[in-house]
């Protein structure tokens, strides 16, 4: 029970040397209340009153009572939440009945990020997120403290002398003075953000619109369950023309909606994208309504990945991301460093990070059997779908045409899957439609696994799986389908270089 001690601790105390437990800013109570009020205080009584047919007075009374109750609970929660920075650790205590105490050694702290959501900006507050290398996300969130306190925290948690960095930025800009002093190494103009938005149109709209189409198929007379009828009356020219026109119109609408929503989404997220570097850290700020700032320590960077989407790659644009240990607001531990950048811009950031450059020329392709395996992996499902569709309508033969690009892509897989052990890094490229390049410094390779399935053994192939820290999933720098001797050589070479 530390409540008695806490009473004397002034929330606004700004002396850096203070070692006592602190609470987050009282404004948090108001923010928390406002955030939840629409659903609970207004929504619940309104629904309850409406459905039971009570008067407006009853609804208001219920809303008031609920609101007061919620305020009290929020206040208790605020009172019981304290944080302390001692010499060696950050201690967070919370909870009324279940008191929990979490101590995070300062040496384990990877990232300290400051985020300012619109409501918090209104109150001049900021949310501080502390991440360690552990698997779980957001091990410590201080929601929310004043901007000055946020900067003091960031300085203190990094073990720096903080007095010089405390600056109250009343304008409500997430960028601290320390940050804006650093040189900008990459920046995206509004035009480029919009361009990025146009590239990242989402196909969800197409699916959604065709779903609506399905729903209204009585009116438009087109839908999957009617495909058979439709095929029978396909001879009817008018009918056919109408349907094709309708499909084209819907597709056009979906495309427009997709582009517009992509632009809006991207602008909200990436507006004013700025990447600064200095003092062994990258500092990325971006966002229109929610201005977020993420700090990536260079020594925590595990690997670099350059990605070229199907369309943007054709226009010579790349996306660069770093896989970091204890990633910030990115759940996968991959941080976007440059969402839309030219080759030279990517190379400059990679060089700043102290990583070796990606060189395509010395890379060698994987075994020829990779083509066969890619084909066998890609083809069966579309073939099965097309055959199944043939039962419904003979027009499904047209669908077989869709197989051509699938086969073509599978045939190209080997051409784009290359690897090499360079001086200080493993370099891998993989993917035909979405092409990816990886730069993995040897010191960041954790575990190497050789793997050969039944079919791979028949073809004399084996894969080398490279495990790195920070993020998992299919975006790992694995080298798939090497001739077994090459795979052995690669695995042994990697392990030898890890030392």
């Amino acid at each position: 029970m530390s409540g008695d001690v806490n009473d004397e601790v002034s929330e606004q105390a700004s002396d850096v040397e203070d070692r006592g437990p602190r609470r987050v800013h009282p404004g948090t109570i108001a923010i928390d209340f406002l955030r939840r009020a629409p659903q609970t205080v207004i929504g619940l009584p309104a629904i309850a009153g409406w459905t039971s047919g009570r008067s407006i007075g009853w609804i208001l009374l219920a809303a008031t009572l609920l609101g007061v109750g919620m305020l009290v609970f929020t206040w208790i929660g605020w009172r019981r939440f304290t944080y302390t920075i001692t010499e060696h650790e950050l201690v967070i205590e919370r909870g009324l009945l279940n008191r929990s105490r979490r101590s995070i050694p300062l040496t384990r702290i990877q990232d300290v990020s400051i985020e300012r959501k619109p409501l918090a900006r209104l109150f001049g507050l900021a949310e501080v997120k502390v991440e360690t290398g552990g698997g779980e996300k957001d091990e410590a969130v201080l929601d929310s403290v004043s901007v000055a306190e946020a900067e003091r925290l960031r300085a203190a948690l990094r073990g720096q002398t903080s007095s010089s960095t405390i600056v109250s930025s009343a304008e409500g800009d997430a960028e601290s003075s320390e940050a804006s002093a650093l040189p900008i190494i990459f920046q995206m103009s509004l035009a480029r953000v919009v361009l990025l938005g146009m590239f990242s149109f989402s196909l969800v709209w197409i699916a959604a619109l065709f779903g609506v189409l399905q729903f209204f198929d009585q009116f438009i007379d087109f839908g999957l369950d009617r495909a058979r009828d439709w095929a029978e009356v396909a001879k009817d020219q008018v009918q056919a023309r109408f349907s094709i026109a309708a499909v084209l119109a819907v597709a056009g609408l979906a495309l427009t909606l997709g582009v517009v929503s992509g632009v809006i989404r991207t602008t909200l997220r990436d507006y004013g994208f700025t990447l600064r570097a200095g003092g062994g850290r990258f500092r990325r700020t971006r966002g229109l309504l929610t201005r977020s700032e993420v700090v990536v320590a260079m020594r925590r960077i595990q690997l670099a990945m350059v990605q070229r989407g199907p369309l943007r790659g054709a226009f010579g644009w790349n996306a660069l991301s770093f896989q970091t240990l204890g990633g910030s607001d990115d759940p996968s531990g991959r941080q976007a460093m440059a969402p839309l950048a030219r080759d030279d811009e990517v190379a400059a950031i990679v060089e700043t990070a102290g990583l070796p450059p990606f060189e395509r020329l010395p890379l060698r392709p994987v075994a020829a059997g990779h083509v066969l395996r890619s084909l066998l992996r890609a083809a069966p499902v579309p073939v099965a779908v097309a055959v199944a569709a043939l039962v419904v309508t003979p027009l499904a033969w047209i669908g077989m045409l869709a197989l051509l690009p699938i086969v073509g892509i599978a045939l190209l897989q080997r051409r784009y899957h290359r690897y090499a052990l360079r001086d200080t890094s493993l370099q891998v490229m993989r993917g035909v439609i979405a092409q990816r390049d990886w730069i993995v410094p040897y010191q960041n390779v954790q575990v190497v696994t050789l793997r050969a399935g039944w079919f791979q053994r028949r073809l004399g192939l084996a894969s080398v799986l490279v495990d790195t820290a920070g993020a998992s999933g299919y975006l790992s720098p694995d080298v798939v389908d090497l001739a077994t001797p090459d795979a052995r050589e690669l695995a042994a070479g990697l392990v030898a270089r890890i030392g």
């Binding site: 190497v448 696994t449 050789l450 053994r457 799986l465 790992s476 077994t484």
Partner: protein, 160 residues
């Protein structure tokens, strides 16, 4: 053999018994559990005999037990002084190499069944994500502790 240049050592014979016993217990429990929905369903579908589902599960168990020795024989390990090699898998063969310098911490565990047959499991934790935990079961406790102490000598305080 994915890496023939590394001579692998087999697991202890005791591990074969551990795998058989855990398999038998697991499938025994599954057989009993399978009897419950089977009994419930046989009320509505009279043609379904009560013993059908448990029998199917039990047959799977027998089949699995028959192949236990093959799965056991596919395991192999080697400690080279710099890295630990663990190979396993019958249909999909894997050979994992864990450099000692990448190990974060090490566990030596021994479950009740393992204790009966005198084997234990060595667990290496790394900072990796897909293979953050590499298990080597079925080695004697002395061997496990020897490897653990050897790896401990390699541990660096900051592997990143």
């Amino acid at each position: 053999m994915l890496l023939p240049e590394i001579p692998l050592q087999p697991l202890e014979r005791g591990q074969l018994n551990v795998m058989r016993l855990t398999g038998a217990i697991g499938f025994g429990v599954a057989t009993v559990v399978a009897a419950i929905p089977s009994w419930a369903l046989s009320h509505s579908w009279e043609w379904l005999p009560v013993w059908a589902a448990p029998l199917a599960v039990a047959l799977c168990g027998v089949w699995s037990l028959a192949f236990t020795k093959r799965r056991w024989a596919r395991w192999g390990w080697a400690w080279t002084g710099r890295e630990l090699h663990v190979a396993w898998g019958w249909l999909i063969r894997s050979h994992t190499i864990v450099p000692a310098a990448r190990v974060q911490h090490i566990d030596v565990t021994q479950g009740p069944i393992e204790r009966i047959f005198g084997v234990s499991t060595l667990i290496l934790h790394t900072a990796g994500t897909a293979n953050s935990e590499v298990n080597l079961p079925g080695i004697s406790r002395e061997t496990a502790e020897e490897i653990r102490d050897a790896i401990r000598a390699h541990l660096s305080s900051d592997p990143w």
